[in-house]
């Protein structure tokens, strides 16, 4: 029975640089590898990604595997699956980590089933059981109402990790590591789906995921008009506007600003929740905020259990006065 050893991180790159999720995965992977007294490697899949290898080493990897091919330039399930299946069978990692990203959500389950192994998605905590050396995988379930801890007996033990759940290491450019080029063999006959077009929405102002202040509206806003007030406030505070799911489902605001379990995960300093009840699926998206402020006319609203400050009242009366005062304070 061959030996599975080490931690392997599936790295993602954006605009020729290491994605922040990859640095987070490497920070987590480093901790796990050190506990196991095994090594940490990173695999970069794409076209012309070799240059990013040094960043991965600086971020904690002992070894970086590079799998390059023009066919891998953009993510495509079947192609990436072929490459990862071959790589995992060669590398035989004890643990394989991917990000809970657009790619991870698509690649990880398929890869797990291809490899015949168990997988936990959207993990917020990972640790090694000292007695069994197994990976303890903690993830939110029941829409975020509960947490579950899983283990798997099969190898590699696979997990996708929620963005911003783990801390990256301080990048250390003096770290030494090995770069290994993998031979890429893609059978074009196995590619059954192709991307015809990518349509990206223009983000005006600060990206939601990067904003230090987020002003979010829920069902209580009642329509698209109300969001204009939230936009005004967000602008004042140099923040971004978000929403829970109902405004998105009702088409009051674009889907791209949905904050929640299946939407964006945000971790701002200040999160102002207006007319949001605080359903657990939404809390999953904003619980990482350092300070939550809630305005809701229902004193029993779940959001108040998450908030540091709250006002029970109709936002239509509370918010304009709040915004006025904020204007005053910022001007002084």
């Amino acid at each position: 029975m061959a030996d599975y050893k080490g931690v392997l991180v599936f790295g993602e790159t954006v605009d020729g640089k290491l994605s922040s999720i990859t640095a987070e995965l490497l920070g987590c992977g480093r901790r796990l590898a050190d506990e196991l007294k095994e090594s940490l490697s990173c695999i970069l899949v794409g076209d012309k990604v070799a240059d990013v290898a040094t960043s991965a080493i600086a971020a904690g990897a002992d070894k970086v595997y590079v799998a390059e091919d023009p066919l891998l330039k953009e993510y495509q399930t079947d192609a990436y699956l072929m490459v990862m299946e071959k790589a995992v069978k060669e590398i035989m990692p004890r643990i394989l980590l991917l990000g809970q990203t657009s790619i991870g959500r698509d690649l990880a389950p398929r890869l797990a089933f291809r490899l015949g192994t168990g997988l936990s998605m959207d993990c917020i905590e990972l640790s090694i059981d000292p007695s069994t050396k197994q990976l303890l995988q903690t993830r939110p379930v029941y829409g975020g109402n509960a947490r579950a801890i899983f283990t798997t007996e099969s190898f590699p033990q696979m997990a996708t990790v929620r963005q911003k759940a783990m801390t990256p290491l301080e990048p250390d450019p003096s770290r030494k590591g090995e770069v290994v080029t993998l031979k890429v063999e893609i059978d074009p006959a196995k590619i059954k789906a192709k991307v015809l077009q990518t349509v990206k929405e223009e983000v005006v102002g600060i990206k939601l995921e990067d904003a230090q202040t987020v002003v979010a509206g829920g069902r209580g806003i009642g329509g698209p008009e109300g969001f204009k007030q939230l936009e005004e406030l967000a602008k004042l505070l140099k923040g971004a506007v978000g929403a829970s799911r109902p405004p998105c489902d009702n088409k009051w605001v674009p889907d791209t600003i949905q904050i929640g379990l299946t939407g964006k995960i945000v971790t701002p300093e200040l999160y102002i929740a207006v007319g949001i009840s605080g359903a657990s699926q939404h809390i999953a998206g904003c619980s990482g905020a350092k300070n939550i402020v809630a305005i809701n006319k229902d004193p029993e609203a779940n959001i108040f259990k998450e908030a540091r400050f709250g006002v029970v009242g109709d936002w239509k009366q509370v918010l304009p006065a709040f915004t006025e005062k904020v204007k005053e304070l910022l001007a002084s």
Partner: protein
């Protein structure tokens, strides 16, 4: 005229108030909130909607499969009331308490038995365990492609054109059929059951299959077939305490809130 299969899961209602959520520590299981009936997992309803939109345009047949034990007929028949044609239940204690692995395996084997399929729809993740793997798993076991997180699906001959949600927009993907497609809420609201649909559904009897009917060993499905093990299920302890800003009027409270946040150095 496409043959479509939709996988629908009966779950505890995710819209039940968070305060009603309780775990029985003795069994490591969620206690169904009293007086709140289970529902079809919302993303699965949207998967049914995706299939119905194609049936509206191109005709064809929609077969719904639900896996579990002690399934409530009122709940699992909802897709029939919406317009699906046939309901198959994988209902047996052996199917219960599986993980993504053993569940996908059972569903894939059932779909194999159905035989003729062009499109298989699943919700992107179930509202209880939120695993998000079964759709991809079914595709892998059947050896067909899968497109995840779809907001729109167009049926073309032998192919489907899918709009897949990505963080800041969407991609248009063309996939060869047969294929699995997992559906997200961006698809839009699932249609309501019509009175006509409810009456038609009432007359339909679901087909019930046991492990032997789909050629699987009970050891390969449900709890016995798991590849992941649940070690613990718990509710995180909430430590925070909310400071409520009180005032004589909502407007005053708004102003006071701003002052309080300034004091706390948050603005």
């Amino acid at each position: 005229m496409p043959n479509m299969v939709v996988c629908c899961k009966q779950v505890i209602d995710p819209e039940a108030p968070p305060a009603s959520f309780k775990i029985d520590p003795a069994t490591n299981k969620v206690v169904p909130p009293p007086g709140v009936p289970p529902v079809i997992s919302p993303f699965d309803e949207q998967a049914v909607e995706a299939a119905l939109r194609i049936k509206d345009k191109h005709g064809g047949k929609i077969t719904v499969i639900s896996l579990g034990n002690n399934l409530l007929r009122d709940v699992v028949k909802k897709p029939l009331s919406m317009g699906a044609d046939e309901l198959i239940l994988l209902e047996d204690p052996a199917f219960d308490e599986g993980d993504s692995w053993s569940t996908a395996y059972a569903l894939a084997m059932a779909i194999k038995k159905i035989g003729d399929y062009d499109l298989i729809f699943c919700g992107r993740q179930a509202a209880d365990w939120d695993a998000g793997q079964v759709g991809c798993g079914i595709a892998e076991i059947l050896g067909i492609p899968c497109v995840t997180i779809a907001k729109s699906v167009e049926y073309l001959n032998g192919k489907a054109k899918v709009e897949r949600v990505i963080p800041d927009g969407y991609q248009v993907i063309e996939v060869e059929l047969p294929a699995v497609i997992t559906v997200s809420n961006e698809l839009g609201e699932a249609r309501y059951a019509t009175l006509k649909g409810i009456m038609a559904a009432a007359k339909k009897q679901p087909i019930v299959w046991k492990p032997a009917d789909i050629g699987v060993n009970p050891s390969e499905v449900g709890a016995a077939g798991r590849r992941t093990k649940l070690v613990k299920l718990f509710q995180p302890v909430k430590e925070g305490k909310c400071e409520f800003i009180e005032a004589d009027s909502p407007a005053e409270a708004g102003a006071k809130l701003a002052l309080r946040l300034r004091e706390a150095k948050l603005i």
